[in-house]
């Protein structure tokens, strides 16, 4: 009888663990810019895509569902996405809601040392010295290859469709 209770308890625990695993969880990480750069450089993926995001920028919000869909439909996962957001640490809950709504579970980075001014300039320069930050806006991205060379850099004059077609090339 005692064994039966133990087995039942064990089975119940397993079930509750499995049930918890199916729960959706967002993955927001707090990171310093230097650490983020290190993660990008050290990633061994074929392509590393640094995407600059602002939850309150219409262009960012507009492209995000497509980006998410591309991510979910990619089969080879030969790339890694680094979504860096302008969101402040104190507004993490709002970002969580946004990601929950779209069902996005991949890492999303909030900068612990987010600069008070010039987020775009400082973040882009911090990740990619050779990139022209003046040409870039929120929803733009930089693609590095495995040797950390820039193979694509978008700019704000490009349309969403152009962005998507570039992403499709690298998000296989």
């Amino acid at each position: 009888m005692r064994y039966l209770v133990i087995i039942s308890f064990f089975l119940a625990s397993c079930f509750s663990i499995t049930a918890q695993e199916t729960k959706f969880k967002t993955n927001i990480q707090l990171i310093e810019l230097e650490e983020l750069k290190k993660e990008i450089l050290e990633s061994e993926k074929e392509y590393k895509i640094a995407f600059i995001f602002d939850q309150f920028c219409p262009a960012s919000r507009d492209i995000f569902p497509d980006l998410d869909e591309l991510y979910k439909n990619s089969t080879q996962k030969n790339f890694k996405l680094f979504l860096v957001t302008k969101t402040k640490e104190k507004n993490k809950e709002e970002l969580e809601d946004h990601l929950f709504y779209y069902g996005y579970e991949e890492p999303f980075y909030i900068l612990k040392d987010k600069p008070l001014f010039g987020f775009l300039k400082k973040t882009i320069q911090g990740i990619c010295e050779s990139c022209d930050y003046k040409e870039m806006g929120y929803s733009d991205f930089i693609v590095f290859n495995e040797n950390n060379e820039v193979v694509a850099q978008t700019n704000y004059s490009q349309t969403k469709e152009e962005h998507i077609s570039i992403l499709k090339k690298y998000m296989q």
């Binding site: 219409p58 507009d62 929950f100 709504y101 779209y102």
Partner: protein
């Protein structure tokens, strides 16, 4: 810009404003074919239709609630809290703390809906004795227009986020309420013609 687009979309999508589409009677096969064609993530058990013409569809169509895409939210007592459209959906559906707490005065309770609906396939009355913290009635229809892709995206987003909330442990009920004219009402051919003529004339104006 996108917000503005969706606002216009919602305004134009109230059933009264649909111009191009010709309404016709639907049945469970047409509902399923539509769900399959547009890959809607809907689950069978959540789909409901109006029970009959005279006592269900007619009073419902005379109310201000016959529009789509829209969600009506009710509290645990079945009191109407608010309606959610595509502008407010992200804020409210991702975080229930943002849903209005105080019921709207002089608005029909959840019974207004549940007394008029049956399951789209089995034809069984809505009968769920369980009490939910929130009930979400998601109005949808089988219209075809230039906006179909956007509307499909909206319904999918809404249903998916509500299912995520359920999986997270929220005690909620989702009613996917199809507001089309239904074969199940078994109207006489004369009545069918009359309904179609009126619906297509008044909704097409």
């Amino acid at each position: 810009m996108k917000k503005m687009f969706y606002l216009l979309l919602i305004l134009s999508f109230s059933v009264n404003a649909q111009k191009e589409y010709t309404y016709n009677f639907k049945n469970s096969d047409s509902l399923e074919a539509y769900i399959e064609r547009y890959e809607l993530p809907f689950q069978e058990e959540d789909i409901y239709i109006t029970k009959d013409f005279e006592n269900s569809f007619k009073p419902y169509s005379e109310s201000k609630f016959l529009s789509s895409p829209i969600i009506y939210v009710f509290n645990a007592e079945g009191k109407f809290l608010e309606s959610i459209n595509n502008i407010t959906s992200e804020k409210k559906l991702a975080n229930f703390k943002k849903i209005r707490k105080r019921p709207e005065k002089n608005e029909p309770n959840l019974d207004f809906w549940t007394s008029k609906i049956v399951h789209y396939k089995t034809g069984k009355d809505y009968d769920d004795p369980k009490k939910y913290d929130y009930t979400f009635v998601v109005n949808w229809d089988l219209t075809e227009s230039e906006q179909t892709a956007q509307v499909i995206e909206i319904w999918s987003e809404w249903y998916n986020v509500l299912m995520r909330q359920k999986a997270k442990g929220e005690n909620i009920q989702i009613i996917l309420f199809n507001i089309d004219l239904q074969e199940r009402w078994e109207l006489s051919s004369h009545m069918r013609r009359f309904v179609l003529e009126n619906v297509n004339r008044s909704w097409g104006e």
